[in-house]
Amino acid sequence: MKTAVHPALRPVLALGVAASLTGCASTTAQNPVDPFEKFNRSMFTFNDKVDQYALKPAATVYKKALPSFVQTGVYNFFGNLGDVWTAANNLLQGRVEDGVSDVMRFAVNSTFGIGGLIDVGSDAGLQKHRQDFGATLGVWGVGSGPYVVLPLLGPSTVRDSVALPLDWKGDLWRYVDPVNVRNTGIGLRVIDMRAGVLDASNLIEDAALDRYEFIRDAYLQRRASKISSNRERGAGSGYRPLPDEEDLDTKTDNGSSLNTAPAAPSVEPEGNKNLQPEKGTAAPAASGKQPASSPAPSENPAK
């Protein structure tokens, strides 16, 4: 399904449409982080339909039919290939320790883990990170720009969309030679990713009043949190609440406070989102690359 459009064209297409909407959208925009809301919502609906009729059913069958060790193997195999690009990005972000750990992971898992099928690295204490070039740009100080919902790929931002072609270049699977093997692999990976977040997407369906907004607001927080945590770890300092020197055009990547929220209800205007940078693990799954983050409003798969 990722092969429907030539990969390199996808962000160009999305940005083209998004850019063409800028003029008119700005008059109706409600949320400063989402001037393309109209376009985004239609993409969201489109992705939802694809998910509802193709991806989610496939993922549900996959999850039910395949033994869990096979699923784990698929996940680990592609995850292992992804670790190479993650290592590169960690190094680009100046986090040498994480980067070296990722290289070790790849080495250990590719050999002792039988080509990445078994994640022996994690058991050996080499924790999995997940990085992409959009995050690297963020760490370098590039603001996220407005929120964008990409066709098939789901939630993203202008910055992360621009970074996507590099992520594709950094994806080792892309260089697998027989095209049909490559495409099968890509399909398998997408289904596996979707299967991994089936439960979560069902929860969001229950919890969200407006799913579009809910996912957008959660996604932007998540990205901002990832980047600020990357910065913190890169700086090697114990506690750096606010990377405010990189305050560019966006409010989404620079939280205002790491302190706990005020006791009294916040009175700030709606757009001025009080996003809290967060330390912790690199966040898993549902990156902007996955249609996975746009679950469908259909029946829940079995559990």
């Binding site: 069902n202 229950d206 009043l209 209800p265 690199a282 798969p301 079995a302 559990k303």
Partner: protein, 215 residues
């Protein structure tokens, strides 16, 4: 007269003792979270009713183990933001109740999915004297990366109250803020209450049961 005084002294004495006892037993915030989550995890892993998605049983667990430890009013106030002060006390009460129910149903849905997960806690970064703290943990699962799970708590007497939750880098209250604001701009506070109530009715009627139903 003497009797009264004696009674007063006795009362003060007992209260003092009680105070001293609980102050000594005051848990560190991470220990507090650890204890509650372990209880819930263990219950969920070993209770066949929960595993098969028995909504009633799951709600019981949530009610007994989670509800007493969460300040829903503060959560609701934060999520409603500036609109909270515009609401009447009656609206605030109803809004809190409906939001609480929605979170309970959602949380119950999450509990029904617990299988082989393990919890890991990260070192605390707070001062022991802090009354507002963040506890950071992650859920480690067999497949996939760990899920970041952080809590915000404040000290309430001799215990802690949870008032916000961070899943995968997004705070619950912050994420609901947008949803709340949109609903309020469409139909006022009452509109939001109505939307929440309808959602809860739907979830009570089967959303959760469906979620948990074994294939």
């Amino acid at each position: 007269m003497f009797k009264k005084l004696f009674a007063a002294i006795l009362t003060v004495g007992v209260l003092g003792f009680a105070g001293a006892g609980t102050a000594a037993a005051q848990e560190a915030p991470d220990v507090f979270i650890k204890r509650i989550s372990q209880e819930v995890l263990e219950t969920a892993k070993h209770d066949k009713d929960i595993q098969s998605g028995n909504q009633q049983r799951i709600l019981e667990v949530v009610q007994s183990k989670i509800l007493p430890n969460v300040d829903f009013q503060r959560m609701t106030a934060l999520a409603a933001g500036r609109y909270w002060r515009e609401a009447t006390p009656e609206q605030q009460k109803r809004l809190t109740e409906e939001f609480r129910d929605l979170l309970v149903y959602t949380y119950a849905g999450a509990i029904a999915q617990i299988r082989d997960q393990q919890l890991e806690f990260k070192p605390m970064r707070n001062d022991p004297a802090d009354t507002e703290v963040e506890v950071r943990s992650q859920v480690v699962q067999q497949r996939g990366e760990p899920i970041q799970l952080n809590y915000r708590l404040y000290k309430s007497g001799n215990t802690w109250k949870i008032y916000d939750l961070n899943v995968l880098g997004a705070w619950l209250v912050e994420t609901y803020k947008g949803n709340f604001a949109s609903e309020i701009s469409k139909g006022g506070i009452d509109g939001l209450i109505k939307t929440l109530a309808e959602r809860n009715k739907r979830l009570a009627a089967g959303g959760l049961v469906k979620n948990g139903k074994p294939s």
